[in-house]
């Protein structure tokens, strides 16, 4: 066995996950396992990370995101080659609210990929980490999960599920060696369009958000808003009375 920090990233092809991985590797060589659905795309991420950090060990796991049995087996398999220090559960997809309202199939997919699947993965890791009594589970939620609103409540409901789940998990592991960090990013610019944004748009850059995530995971904070200003914004939004909130066009 080597003494490198062991990190697992589930949903490795998401922009946020990938940039977290780049940052971890830039700090020091790690033992990194990338879990994704599309082998070709995960391999692209792995090749890039390998160039950036030749001393790191990078493994790829192609996995199912929805079948509980498969998820359980995948995670058990990962632990067969040693304990995990950090798992980042980052998969999800921001689907359109109108699609979800038009088509229950899209609605169901949105709930599954953003809510049920991350929870199943976290639960599988929790089981393993409880045995070894060490490790950090970092789950990406969203500010959208803090309060439902008409423009994205299906996605928000799935992320709300993640929020409640993480709270419970934090309760369960209080006083143990296992830490649970819930990350709530605000709207983030993808790297692909960051420089094209119209002036006046104030989306956060993915690099800035990722730095907060990596620092938050390092220090084991319970909830990381990224950027931090969203903690204040959501505090206000969550306390607006329904009568007023429901008249707002947001």
């Amino acid at each position: 066995m080597n003494n490198k920090k062991r990190i697992v990233v589930v949903g490795a092809t998401s922009a946020m996950a990938e940039h977290c991985a780049r940052l971890w590797l830039a700090k020091q060589p790690v033992d990194l396992t990338l879990v994704g659905r599309d082998a070709q795309r995960v391999e692209r991420v792995a090749a890039d990370l390998k160039v950036r950090s030749p001393q790191s060990e990078i493994r790829i796991v192609q996995a199912d995101f929805f079948n509980p049995g498969a998820i359980s087996a995948t995670v058990e398999n990962i632990f067969q080659s040693g304990n995990v220090d950090i798992v980042l559960i980052a998969h999800g997809s921001l689907s359109s609210q109108t699609d979800c309202q038009e088509d229950l199939e899209a609605c169901c997919k949105t709930l599954e990929v953003n809510g049920v699947s991350p929870v199943l993965y976290a639960e599988a890791f929790a089981k393993q980490m409880e045995r070894s009594n060490q490790g950090t589970i970092a789950i990406i939620g969203s500010v959208a999960g803090d309060r439902g609103r008409k423009s994205n409540y299906i996605y928000g409901a799935a992320k709300g599920l993640v929020t409640r789940y993480a709270q419970g998990l934090q309760h369960r592991f209080e006083g143990t060696g296992v830490k649970v960090v819930l990350i709530k990013p605000g709207p983030t610019d993808t790297p692909m369009t960051a420089h094209l944004k119209a002036s006046g748009s104030k989306l956060a850059s993915v690099e800035g958000v990722v730095k907060l995530i990596v620092d938050g995971v390092e220090s084991g904070r319970l909830v990381v808003y990224a950027p931090g200003i969203w903690r204040a914004i959501m505090l206000v939004l969550m306390h607006i009375p329904n009568k007023i909130f429901n008249k707002m066009d947001i």
């Binding site: 890039d48 160039v51 030749p54 790297p191 692909m192 369009t193 960051a194 094209l196």
Partner: protein, 433 residues
């Protein structure tokens, strides 16, 4: 549709922007579009080479993955949206460096190839395309073309400096160059006139890898300046410079570069640097990329934006032509703070539409003052045409078609390699489609 500007901020027209976020999906976006498009990286070219109003922009910055790097021979393979900055940061600690780099590292590999960019060491190492071993192109009919100096060399010659018009560059292999570290041994030498500049340039070519000069085109009679030269050095370890990034926070209502600010600014800059002129060891970032720490500096020219005018004229006509251009600028009362004068080496570029050619290049920027500025450009054009020179496509937003055709004799050869599904403002303006 979203408004997109190039670096000169002269226009802000709506575009259909599509992110090319993974190489496996490029074909489906580029091939099945209903409208013509053009690849767009960091948008750092000044004019309209990267714009296509009402049409598609294929944004390549999501293609930001390295593919392979061989530490033993300095071969790097990467996707086209990787920034030169990321390459430098990756390879310099391994003892390698990009052989050629332009004045900003915030550009993509694809853009560096499509504009065949040059740097301060052109007289030794040529332009960016000279170090590219292989390029992958996706054509809008779905064909994938792999080309390089030894493979489909005609396609390669069309694509290097080809303004993105031969296909979408998705991947490239670059031969890096050994470097002793991030440090340069650099010297600034003031010169009083163009005679002195040419003596310095000729006298420095053999012993200095990097040469460039800032020219004061307005005070002191025009023609004095500061000659900067540098060589890579392994001279000792020292602490890295602190990174302090400033952002130009607003677009001022009028250009901050104007007839009132320019004279005092140029004079102050010249004398300050003249007094400080000496030999120093400097980090590569401030030496190569002096403006990269001032983010969005292009905003200082105000809401109307600015033009950059970069010409190259053959050496025989060089000194007279540069003198004539400086005279026109002084007469117009317009002026330019960021004025760069440099001699190119005695080598032809690979690309059919590459800009560098033997001679001397003068780059100037001008706040956009409408007709006044355009009339000045017409007089500068006349000097360039007379001297049998050409203008740089990456900087251009306005050159007349005849000047383009006269300056780029390989144009007819190039046209055969164009992708009919690709079009930009520049291609429509200068090639008719």
């Amino acid at each position: 549709m979203k408004p997109v500007r190039s670096w000169g901020r002269l226009s802000s027209d709506p575009h259909y922007a599509f992110g090319l976020n993974n190489p496996f999906g490029v074909k489906s976006i580029v091939c099945h579009g209903t409208r013509k498009g053009v690849a767009h990286g960091m948008g750092r070219s000044y004019g309209d080479i990267c714009l296509n109003p009402e049409g598609a922009l294929w944004v390549t910055t999501g293609l930001d993955h390295f593919i392979a790097f061989d530490d033993s021979n300095g071969r790097l393979v990467c996707e086209a949206g990787v920034l030169l900055r990321d390459i430098q940061r990756l390879v310099i600690p391994h003892g390698w460096i990009l052989p050629v780099t332009p004045g900003t590292q915030l550009v993509t590999v694809g853009g560096a190839i499509a504009n065949d960019v040059h740097g301060k060491n052109h007289h030794i190492l040529g332009s960016f395309g000279d170090h590219v071993q292989s390029v992958s192109l996706i054509r809008t009919d779905g064909e994938i073309i792999q080309c390089g100096p030894h493979e489909k060399a005609d396609w390669f010659a069309a694509t290097v400096g080809g303004a993105g018009l031969t296909g979408v560059i998705t991947q490239a292999e670059i031969q890096l160059r050994r470097a002793p570290g991030p440090w340069l041994d650099a010297e600034t030498v003031p010169y009083a006139n163009l005679n002195e500049f040419f003596c310095l340039a000729d006298g420095s070519e053999a012993d200095w890898e990097h040469t460039v000069s800032w020219i004061d085109c307005i005070t002191g009679g025009g023609g004095r300046g500061l000659f900067m030269r540098g060589n890579p050095t392994s001279d000792g370890e020292r602490p890295l410079p602190r990174q302090r990034k400033l952002t130009m926070p607003v677009v001022p209502p009028v250009s901050m570069v104007n007839q009132f600010s320019l004279r005092p600014f140029n004079m102050a800059y010249y004398y300050l640097k003249k007094w400080q002129a000496k030999r120093v060891i400097t980090h590569y970032e401030p030496f190569f990329y002096p403006l990269d720490n001032l983010l969005e500096w292009n905003r200082i020219y105000g809401p109307k934006g600015f033009f950059q005018y970069q010409s190259v004229v053959p050496r025989e006509a060089g000194q007279d032509a540069v003198q004539a251009m400086l005279k026109e600028i002084a007469r117009s009362g317009d002026g330019s703070f960021l004025a760069v004068l440099k001699t190119f080496g005695n080598r032809q570029s690979i690309g059919m539409l590459s800009f560098p050619q033997p001679g001397v290049t003068l780059a100037l920027d001008f706040p956009n003052r409408g007709d006044h500025t355009h009339r000045l450009f017409e007089r500068l054009d006349a000097v360039v045409r007379e001297a049998k020179g050409r203008l740089y496509l990456a900087k251009d937003a306005r050159m007349p078609r005849q000047l383009f055709e006269a300056g780029y004799p390989r144009l007819t050869e190039f046209i055969k390699y164009r992708d009919p599904g690709i079009s930009s403002s520049l291609s429509r303006r200068l090639m008719g489609s």
